[in-house]
Symmetry: C2
Subunit: 282 residues, 2 copies
Amino acid sequence: MLVDGVHFLFSNMPPHSIGHRAMAANLSDLAAMGARPVLATVALGVAPNTTEAWILEAYRGMATLAAEYGTRIVGGDIVRAPAAVFSVTVVGEVSTGRLKRRDGGRAGDTLAVTGPLGASRAGLELVRNGKRFAGERFADALQTFCAPVPRIREGAWLAASRAVHAMMDLSDGLSTDVQRLARASGCGAVLEEVPVHAAAVAVASETSADPREWALSGGEDFELALAVAPRAFPYLAGRFAARFGRRLYAVGRLTASEGLFVAEPGGQPEALQARGWDHLRS
Amino acid sequence: MLVDGVHFLFSNMPPHSIGHRAMAANLSDLAAMGARPVLATVALGVAPNTTEAWILEAYRGMATLAAEYGTRIVGGDIVRAPAAVFSVTVVGEVSTGRLKRRDGGRAGDTLAVTGPLGASRAGLELVRNGKRFAGERFADALQTFCAPVPRIREGAWLAASRAVHAMMDLSDGLSTDVQRLARASGCGAVLEEVPVHAAAVAVASETSADPREWALSGGEDFELALAVAPRAFPYLAGRFAARFGRRLYAVGRLTASEGLFVAEPGGQPEALQARGWDHLRS
C-alpha cells in the first residue's frame, strides 16, 4: 500500500511514475523469493477532484511495468479516499525447492546486494525540492526514484542457487532490512562495505548530505539483499556478473552474536541503529 | 478497499466490525462467482495515534470471518495513512464449468436475490446517528450492517446450476447492481417486486425514511443477485429453500430492450435511475 504524502508526492510526480513505483514495490517482493509474477490486482483510492486522465496514467504506469515481467492487472477496485492510495497485490509462482525466505541465513554467510544503493533517496531529494538540476549526472537518481527496476530476473536466477540461503528486497533501507534478515535468521550482522551509488554522490554533493547515509538508510532502492555461503560467493558473483552485466556486491556477513554493526574499512565495528523507515514508529 | 468516512465510520464502529465488513465485502465477490476462498492478503493503512489494540481487533474481525469460510490471511502490509484504509484481496478457486459472471444473463431470465434487502442501510442509519434504539427489533439491522454474511455457500451451490446464467453480489444497491448485470448481459431489466427486510421497515418507521428506497439503493446487503432461466426458477427456488432455509426471491426479469424500469404491483413500468453508490460520481 502506497499513500500520498507517505510513499510518494502526488503533486511533484507524474501519475505514471507513481503507478510504476507501486507495481515495482510489489514485484520486488516476489523477486526476493525467486518467484515469477502470475497476476496482479490493484485497489486505488482517489481523492476528490482527481481527473480521469490522472487515473488512467497511473494505471498505465502499473500495467506497463507488469507487462515487462509477463503479468497483467486482472482486477481490483476504485474508491473515493481523502488522499491517493495504491494497494497492489501480486500473486507469483515459485517451485518449493527454490523459494527463498529471509530466515535461512547462517552465521558466517556473506551478505550481498545486487546493486549500489542510495540513488532512490537522492532522487527523492530532487523530486521533493522540485529543483531542476541540470545535466546528465542527476538523471540516474531521478530514474531510480521514478522508475525503479524490480530484480525479478536476478531474483529467480539467484533463487536457483543452493548457496543462497536467504533473500529479501531493500525497500526500507539497508540498515533496517539487513537487521530484519539477520534477526529472522537468528543471527547478527556486520556491514563492512556499503556500495554507494554514483548518482547519490552526485546529488549529495549539491545538498550537503551524506550519500553513505542515504545508501545505509534511504530505502526503496529495490535491490535484493542475500545471505550466501561464503565459499560459494566468488563463483556466484562471477557468474552473476557474466549473466546480468552487474556486480554482486559483498557488503558484510552474518554473525553468531546478535546486533547490527558497521565497520569502516580497517576500523572497529560500531553498533548501528536501524535507521530506515518504520511505519509504526511514532 | 474500504476507507474511513466513505465505507465505514471509524469513530462509531468497533474495529472488529470494520474488519469483518472489509473481509465480508471481498468474500462476497468470490461468492458471486461461485468460488471457494483459498487465501487472503490485507494491506492496512493506519492513521496517526491508532492504538495497537485497535489494529489487532480489526485483524481479528477479518481473520475470524476468513476462518469461518476455510481461509486465512497469509500476508500483506501495514502503513501510515491520513485515514484508516483496509485493502483486502482474496484469491479463490472455482472450476471453469461453474464460474458465473455478470454478463451471462439472457432476455426473459428471472432476476432473483438471495435475501430481503435494506437492512444494512438501516443499520448504517443507527450507527451514523449513534442512536441507542432499544429493543430486539433493531438488532437485525445492526447485525446486518456490522457483521454481514458473505453468501459463499449459497454462491457455490447456485453456481453448480446451469439454469443460473449470471450472478453478482449486491454491494452498491439493487438498482445500481441490477443495471450493471443487465448492461453486461446486453439487456435491460424490470424490477417488479423488491423484498424489503423487516429490519429496514422497523428502523425506517422511526426515522421517516422509505424502507423500499433503502432496499433499492442502500447497498452493502451482500446478498447475491442472479439471472435464472425462467422455467427452472420455481424448482431452483424450492431446492434453495430446502437447502438453506432461506427464500430465493424473484425480483423481476431481464428484457430485450435497454434500460432499468421498476413496476409497482399492477402498475406501469417507470424508468428508474441507478441510485446506488458510485465512487467516481462527483
